[in-house]
Amino acid sequence: MAKVMLEVNELTTKYITRFKENVYAVDHVSLKVEEGKSLGIAGESGCGKSTLALSLMGYYFPPLHYTSGEIIIDGQNITGLTPDNIRKSILGTEIAYIPQAAMNALNPTQKVIHFIEDVVHAHFPDATKKEIYDLARTRFETLGLNASVLEKYPVELSGGMKQRTVIATSVILGPKVLIADEPSSALDVTSQKKVIKMLRDMMETEIIKSMIFITHELPLLYNVTDDIMVMYAGQIVEKASAEKAVFDPLHPYANGLMGAIIVPEEGLRDVKLTAIPGVPPNLKNPPEGCRFAERCKYAVPQCKVIKVSLNEIGNGRAYRCIFSEDELREFYKDAKSN
């Protein structure tokens, strides 16, 4: 069995609002990513997937707070470390992050190389400018970026170029886990392709050892990642291989989401595009029972009262629903034939 790069057990984090209310945006989430593998996380906006990305870093600042659970990176449990230790020895070197809005992710009044110098110095205070420049240049060129980018201010770069610069900067220290939060959704199609290619290259050249890719665009996940996890209202509702998640989703929400995509595979063309009506529940007071019950077309009265746990069904598959696998598949078959 391959080495586990990232293991998360029952992680719960919350936002504390201005009015001192607790919002549990990540609710008992567990996941595992092995060396050389990538995991996709999907869900509507507001489902907690971006918060999960932030929470995985193990470095919290208000309004986000850690509640419980543990994060283990390459065998090292980081949950007990002090924030300064995490900053110094984990962030950037063990785990790195590509933000959602890369447009403004670089300090606007600093040349790219100076920012990279600050990043490297934060972990290796003794590195010389020359060493850092050489490192940055090699990394940028490996990833297909011109070294002249280093001497520019962010305003001088185009959107796509900025995003690729951010990605290259994130992996400058060769982290074991890379968390990419919607790295390509704000870009045009050509730039998107370049970004995706870059992420794949990094996996292949082992600049990074594993990756978590977060997006609301499912086709992208199917093409990029090995496994897929679907989140709804702060909880995991479905966990499966990319193949299974797309072609055999179990949770009604996951099924709804997959119904809402067009996968350019033969035999899927005739799948109807169905958006799921309704909005996710308010996480300040989440419902007692299944959080999706309000919007679920297969819901029965018990759904709203019984607390549903994640059903592990082997092969890394899991789903959160009171119905059995077969019952669910039956529902979907009926729906399709109608």
């Binding site: 600042f61 900053r87 990043v119 201010y153």
Partner: protein
């Protein structure tokens, strides 16, 4: 360098345009108003004069001086020519002293008082605002309401309060003037000391007034920057908080510089009124005497000079800003 040159020439062109507009406004506003200004002026000057011919003569004299007997475009040429020659006519209230002479003696007082005060106020305000944004909690909770309250005091209000406390009650500073009333300006130590003592209250009242507004602006700007994406990103790359705060304050400070350029006009307005409270011998007091004495040439010239000073200050700040903010140079080359 090329980028900066482009920026500079753009700003210079704009400066010249505003300059011309300021001249035109100064020229045209009084002429737009109903009534014959020359007749009103004459009326005031000839009070008590009985000879009708004499009155007519005075009227013609002023009509000639202001050129109101000529078509409007010629009037403007005369006006511009006079300004270029530094000829603003003779003052009514301090006749026959030339207006240029009166202004020459007051302008330096204003420059020496207001520009240092505004800059010190700007620096202090920005520091406090940045601290409030960063420290939050106690400091912010105490400092912000005070800043908001102080910045809501009118400039003259602050001036009066300082004057009553420090000059009237505690008698630490004199109540009025730019130097001891029994002195003649010279370069003696006594005179300089007297000037410095008289300088304190007007200076600090302007500083205190500008601190509040700047602190509030800087705080909002810093909070905005603290929430910027690059802060989160830098944190997740493990960069030290202290370093990130450095980015934030630098970036928040830059727009505050343009903010200063844009608000300097308003600040000068308030500061001129503060000068009046202290009977400081600057342009504010000159303007007051001019208004009180219905001294039209003096009012017109003072307002023009004030506008010019603000425009020049504005231009200098913009030029400086172009040097400091790397984005300006970068953004011009496209």
């Amino acid at each position: 360098m090329k980028g900066y040159l482009k920026y500079f020439s753009g700003k210079l062109a704009w400066f010249l345009v505003t300059l011309v507009a300021a001249f035109i406004l100064n020229f045209i506003l009084p002429r737009l108003m109903p009534g014959d200004p020359v007749a009103i002026i004459t009326q005031r000057v000839v009070q008590g004069m009985t000879s009708q011919a004499g009155v007519q003569k005075v009227y013609e004299q002023y009509a000639e001086l202001f050129g109101t007997n000529k078509p409007i475009h010629e009037q403007f040429i005369i006006y511009m020519r006079n300004i270029v020659q530094g000829n603003f006519g003779l003052s009514f209230s301090q006749y026959p002293r030339p207006v240029a002479d009166i202004l020459k003696s007051s302008i330096w007082w204003t420059i020496a008082l207001q520009f240092p005060a505004i800059i010190v106020g700007w620096l202090l305000g920005n520091t406090l605002g940045a601290l409030a944004a960063y420290l939050k909690k106690g400091f912010d909770k105490v400092l912000m309401p005070i800043s908001i309250f102080i910045s809501n005091l009118p400039a003259f209000g602050m001036a009066v309060i300082l004057l009553v406390i420090f000059a009237v009650r505690l008698k630490w500073f004199p109540t009025a003037g730019g130097y001891g009333f029994d002195m003649i300006p010279n370069f003696s130590w006594d005179y300089i000391k007297s000037v410095l003592i008289h300088y304190q209250l007007p200076f600090w009242s302007i500083v205190l007034i500008s601190i509040g507004g700047q602190a509030i602006g800087m705080r909002a700007m810093s909070i905005y920057e603290l929430n910027a994406d690059y802060v989160k990103y830098s944190r997740f790359l493990g960069i030290k908080d202290r370093k990130i705060i450095g980015y934030v304050f630098r970036n928040a400070m830059l727009p505050q510089i343009t903010g200063l350029a844009l608000s300097i006009g308003t600040m000068v307005g308030g500061a001129l009124v503060a000068e009046i409270i202290f009977s400081y011998p600057g342009l504010g007091s000159t303007l007051l005497t001019a208004v009180m004495g219905q001294d039209y040439p003096l009012i017109s010239a003072s307002t023009l000079i004030i506008t010019l000073m603000v425009l020049i200050a504005n231009f200098l700040i913009e030029i400086l800003y172009g040097v400091i903010d790397p984005r300006i140079k970068a953004a011009q080359v496209e």
